[in-house]
Symmetry: C2
């Protein structure tokens, strides 16, 4: 999602100027590919394309063809990254040697009026809550559902979109709720009259939030790097000469914390990744205590292991059981070596990224499973009939090269 | 070293303006501390202090006292970060709870004329070769050696500094050579008449160099992040529309590579970290082949494992044995999850950092050894006499609070 915010900004600018824009979305991947389903690229009529759908190999082609492909409505196009397909006229091949196939949905977003996807992205941005969105990516039942038809769920409540009129709407709404709960995208195959429709069920996570307690100068590269990753960053320190906005020009919020109120930031911390790094024993104890009671998704404590253990013993004595202990990581960071503020910042952010993605750090060369999370799975028994259906449905939707 | 370049720039600016500056250097650490021996901070007469010697706790104190402490020449001061010492008048305590002691050397660098340290830093910057520098940090033999006296070795050859006149000069020169070979700082204790002198033997590594083959837009966040870390970055691509300086405003060099000349970059690649990520099978094979014959210190290949293995098989067929295989990492990067160009860039840089520091990249919480590399060890049998000496010598040099 973090990379969808700049895209949303460009999209809103286009709408403000009364212009439509073409959105290209990876809706399915076979084999290897750099980006996963849900990766998006926006091609405005005059500006620079925004966002990426590959490692740089498909973007020029997509930007060139986007407007032409969508002249008659949404279109699906498949790109092969297989070496073997190179030069073949049937597949749009790029000879990248990845042996994958990337299926991209092209659609024009209107210059004005309702647009389910924009509603979803705005909802995620403004409420800082996740959303789920269902998009038709194939159908064997002509006419009843169009490619790109949608249903969306924002803040787990309101549903809207073209599919609301469908006989399947209620089932899709239930599956969208499930998608929100699982926090993971998937593909569904629904029966539809005598045929079937295939739906990409996307989980749109909120922007990752980082709350940093401690506004020393080692927090400065941390903020710069986290903003490069597209995270939302808040800095809090009890010392007003440290917690100054001009010291953190990139931060979203810089707050002077009241050390008498350890629980004042409960709402801010809930669901956020937190780094405690004031270098003051008194402040660290204070903030760590508040954080451990505020349901963060990750807490890292800077400093030697023994120091953190003394901090915890002190807090425990005052407070009894500490509910947030399971997500406390100390010493904070991945084991990268280096002691400059910049390298420590990278080690911290890399750990947060790994932990929240359920990864262990460590080199990818030692990972036995796939590099990526499993692709959105097809929720339905993939019988031969269904596979045949999918192939047929893709043929039907696909624009010939 | 990377953090010493901005410091060198400030220092040279002060000299150009005809002003001296005070340099504070961590020369020894007992117990835990954020930064290691060799960390430096420059306090100019009027400007903002540059560099850090702690996680932000000692800097204000150092900036305040730097000029006063050095009125009568170089001075050594010890800072306790132990909770227990808090409020004690004997130790300058900061109550950080780290249970460490940081020994800092303060010295004024001249406004003009020779200065061994400036020579060393300039040498490292301009030759991109490491240097080694010996600094007297304690002595029990009054008068014969002054605190801060130096001997330095640049490009493994020229030696200069105050210690060149010492009876120990030849032995120190040999030990500096050893320091260059080991690539690691240490402390030495030398007999000196009836007493001893203690010397910090520092290894000044060259700035880390990153060579990126592939100028796609996924290389853009990689460059921005590597520059944030202070690395020297070169981008090379055979496609002139990708390899354009305006696409990489932060890069040190952007080169259009000649795909007929895989070995053209041998000098550039030797000793550098390399990422191969053109997304083109032809270009990747080409550059990887050249890189593996050019003695890089790290090579990472982007893309699925199977793709890289096919690349290697092809190169092997043409070239026979591949000398650089031992330092080839594929798939490139740490296992952090995430597929945006920004998160992939972080995973790459984190792996390079870990590999070159001999770390494994997992969470620090699982590391059983110390977080930091072992501190510069005292090369000498630490008998009780010697420990007593050191204590006495520190007392002698130390400025009372």
């Amino acid at each position: 999602m973090s990379c969808l915010i700049p895209l949303l900004d460009v999209l809103l600018a286009e709408r403000n100027a009364g212009r439509e824009a073409v959105l290209a979305t990876v809706v399915k991947v076979d084999g290897s590919a750099y980006r996963r389903p849900g990766a998006r690229m926006l091609v405005s009529r005059f500006g620079r394309p925004e966002g990426t759908i590959s490692g740089g190999c498909l973007e020029a082609e997509v930007a060139r063809k986007a407007w032409w492909l969508t002249e008659a409505g949404p279109a699906l196009r498949s790109y092969s990254t297989s070496e073997a397909d190179e030069g073949s006229e049937e597949a749009l091949s790029f000879g990248l040697g990845c042996n994958g196939k990337v299926h991209v949905l092209f659609e024009r977003l209107p210059a004005s009026g309702p647009c389910a996807l924009i509603t979803a992205l705005l909802g995620v941005r403004d409420t800082q809550q996740p959303a789920a969105i269902a998009t038709v990516i194939a159908s064997s039942a002509d006419g009843s559902h169009r490619l790109g038809d949608r249903l969306l769920l924002v803040s787990g409540q309101s549903a809207e979109g073209e599919l609301l009129q469908s006989a399947l709407a209620e089932q899709i709404r239930i599956d969208l709720q499930q998608t929100l709960v699982r926090g993971k995208s998937s593909r569904y195959l629904y029966p539809n009259g005598t045929g079937k429709i295939e739906v990409l069920m996307e989980y749109l996570p909120p922007v990752r939030r980082l709350v940093v307690f401690g506004a020393g100068h080692d927090a400065q590269p941390l903020v710069r790097m986290a903003k490069l990753l597209g995270w939302h960053v808040t800095i809090i320190d009890g010392r007003s000469h440290f917690a100054r906005a001009e010291r953190f020009p990139d931060a979203d919020q810089v707050l002077v914390g009241d050390v008498e109120q350890p629980f004042a930031y409960r709402e801010l911390v809930r669901g956020a990744a937190v780094a405690v790094m004031t270098h003051s024993l008194v402040q660290d104890a204070h903030w760590l205590q508040g954080v451990l009671h505020s349901e963060p998704c990750y807490v890292g404590q800077l400093g030697p292991r023994e120091r953190t253990e003394r901090l915890l013993a002190g807090i425990h004595e005052q407070q009894g059981e500490l509910p947030g202990l399971a997500c406390l990581h100390y010493p904070i960071g991945l084991d990268l070596g280096g002691d400059t503020p910049e390298s420590v910042a990278m080690a911290m952010l890399a750990e947060i990224q790994a932990v929240l993605n359920g990864r262990n750090g460590g080199s990818l060369r030692f990972r036995s499973a796939s590099i990526h999370d499993s692709d959105p799975v097809l929720i339905a028994s993939e019988t031969e009939t269904e596979i045949a259906f999918a192939a047929e449905a893709y043929r039907r939707f696909a624009v010939q090269p």
